[in-house]
Amino acid sequence: MRRALLAALLLLAPATQAQTMWSLDVLMIQMAQVRAASASFTEQRTSPLLNAPLTTQGTLRYTAPAYMRKTTQGPAPQDFILDHDRITMSGGPDGKTHVFHASDAPQIGGLVEGIRAVLAGDEATLTRLYTVQLGGDAANWQLQLTPLDPKVAKLVRAITIAGSGARITGIDTASPDGSDSHMRIAETVSDAP
């Protein structure tokens, strides 16, 4: 009887710890469990050039550890694919397909690489590229990423990723010049193991 109780306590222990000791390590381990996910999004962009925000909608798809696809349905359809280091942009206003390496364009690469690292639970990459601040609890967390590379910092002041458990619910990007983006992510279907 005492042995059974001990066994039950031992089994419970990690769960108890996870709830009480919320940390970046724990979030990263949680995120790393997700092998694939897809969701729909609504994005609002402001720009110093514009007197009203632009709103776009589309879907997001992720396959661990390094494939992300953002399909914008409207108002202008566009596809953005990150596959490891390779970025493919197609269907933009010029109708052309652009292929380049994330490392060729650190400004864009630094932005998408942070989101990918959070999705993959890749803490090493995340802390190499950003100062990371975690707030909230497991049910409602906010991760604030501040770029370390000055080239990226010129274009992106901060990225704030909000989430619940292993699910990302929003991504906010703020630029020094006022080009900001607020993305709300809904209906996530994650394939946890």
């Binding site: 994005e43 962009r45 720009s47 110093p48 050039l49 514009l50 007197n51 009203a52 632009l54 776009t56 953002k70 914008t72 108002p75 202008a76 566009q78 953005f80 942009m89 933009g92 206003p93 010029d94 292929v99 380049f100 390496h101 490392s103 060729d104 364009a105 650190p106 400004q107 864009i108 932005l111 998408v112 080239k151 274009l155 992106v156 990007t173 630029s175 010049d177 080009s179 983006s181």
Partner: protein, 772 residues
Amino acid sequence: MRPERLALGLWLALLVLCGVIAARASYRTQMGDFLPHSASLEQQVLAQQVNGGAASHILLVALEGAPTATLAALSEDLAGKLRDNAAFIDVMNGDDHSLAQIQDFIWRNRYLLSDSVTPQRFTAEGLHTALTSDIGLLGTDLAPVLSQSLPQDPTGEALNLMSTLAPASAGPAVNDGVWTSPQGDDALLLLHTAAPGFDLDAQQRDLGLVDAAFAAARAETPGAQAARLEISGPGVFGVRTRDVTKHDVTRLSILATIGAVSLLAFAYRSPRVLLLGLLPIASGALAAIAAVSVGFGFVHGITLGFGVTLIGEAMDYAIYLFTQTAQGDTARDTLSRIWPTLRLGALTSVAGFAAMLFSSFTGFAQLGLFSIMGLITAAAVTRFVLPPLMPKQFFAVGAGGMAKPLGWLIRHQRPARLMALAALLAAGAALLTHRGGMWDENLLDLSPIPTAAQALDAKLRHELGVPDQRYFAVFQAGSAQQALARSEALAPVLAGLKADGALAGYDLPSNILPSDATQRARQAALPDAATLSARLAQAQTGLPFRADAFAPFLKDVAAAKTAPLLNAASLPPALALRFGSMLVQNGADWVVTAPLTDIADPTAASQRLAAAGANFVDLDHESATLMSTFQREAVTLAVVGSLAILSLLVVGLRSPRRAARVAAPLAMAVAITAALLTLGGGKLSIFMVTGFLLIVAIGSNYCLFFERAVAGSVAWERAIASILLANLCTVAAYGLMALSHIPVLHDIGVTVATGTFLSLLCGAVFSRGGAP
């Protein structure tokens, strides 16, 4: 006594004169100067691209032997150091600075450079279309980047131009912010030197600068101790070939000098006579350089290096004089005996080389004049200058015994002749049954560049995406502006070919610098400030842009409308090099040479270009044609030269029979040499054929002395000894050349050493000396 002093004085005066001319002569090493005067436009393009085109300024660099991140740091450090040095026009390693020159030029001059600058684009409708597209872009992840350039460039001219002038897709992979090989085990850099590839002194200095900068960067970069640098490019090939040639020539000529000096010292036992023996060839070379300089206005490097090899027989003249002077004789007595033979020998060689004067290749013609002048001078110095300078009572003490081995051979002429004929038959059979062609058609076998270096070059070119430029569209125009206008007219044709997949890419001078007319037309297409402001306001209707969002655009357009036109001097160095390589003044004409990459169907491309008034040039084809012309001419000259020697023998000896007696051993020697060279499937190179002419030129002297000498006398013994001594010196000099790694030196060396020795043997065996 008086005529001799006169001769000495005249010789010294001429020597000084030739020395002055040679010292002031212009020496050139460019390939174009070796080519025929009547070179076609295609051949001129070939020479120009090989020697001074933008491609000749390229150095390809790979850093390896450390982790990627370390190599990246090393690449940044090295690039930074080289960018500070004016010897390098352009240092690209994939970082932000790599394209900064071009980006800056494009940004500042986008309204003069972009072909989308048309009146239509700056109407209210045109601007509305552009702004609508911008709204689309601002909704993408590119927004943060675009919001920096859109206020000044809402029509996207700069982005468009960058993709034309510096296509990003052409570059290598990027890791840790710098170019690397696909696996990341090499960091790659592409340099353009200020000096062209043919300027070997400058290239050598620049290679030293790269090495020094790399050593310093390696010392500063932690963990980079084991890193290595590999470098390739036209300048590297040129410098290394020169180094190997210098090394071979120095080492081999020291060895050859030791060999020849030992032989001559043994024969003469007089240092003074030994030195006197050099006067004919030294005076000959100096006079030859002066003659070429006066005759052609310049001396080609190849003429200088190769010419001395051609007049090697001038060494023999002094040997004949010194060795054939018997005890108690004076040099004048000897000369009165041997001069007719010596003179005929020299004249036959002059006739042999005279054919070269009529070659279409300037280089061959120079070599012809060089050898003619060199040999005539050497013979004259032997005749008029050496006798008064020789010590009284001199005779070659050690030469007496030298005749013995040949004497023995001559005494056993009957079996020796049978053996020689058997050898000739075997040689004839071997040559007739030789499989797979006698001629070496593979041009790479003539190249002095080692296979490993060629492989490294190919690997780096592939990884850096700078293929060897092979195809060009070429046309001429009467002025630079007309050439640029025609270049603009050709742009849609090439764009069409590219769209059809017939070619992967092209470059045109008008992409970098549009013609004045086009620049003016673009300025005219830009509306004035008030009009543009009104149209822009109209274009913004219904779009969520702030009213003042594009104020910088209005300012930039107003500035561009009245900006001074761009000219060649406005270009940044990297673009100036590319431009200067594509648009070249050639006499009164301007030639445009536009590189084309990855031609799928050369015939179709050629037809489309011809219809547009441009020539299609395939450099590989042109160089192959040129090389085969060169080979054909070299063979013709050798054959014509040999026939000229034989004809002169008939005239000089006044008897076809005696001429045949001289010519037959030479023919045998050449045939057996050719058989030996092609033994086991070997092939004859163009250099070996030139060697055959030298065998005939040098060997005919031996045979003339054999033919003239009366057997058994003291004079006969001395004549035989002099021939043997001359031949041993020749075999020593040319035989050592056979050890060289440079194909031209090796081939001539092995051919001449073998052939002259066989001439000696055949000459002796078939001489009349055997009849007691």
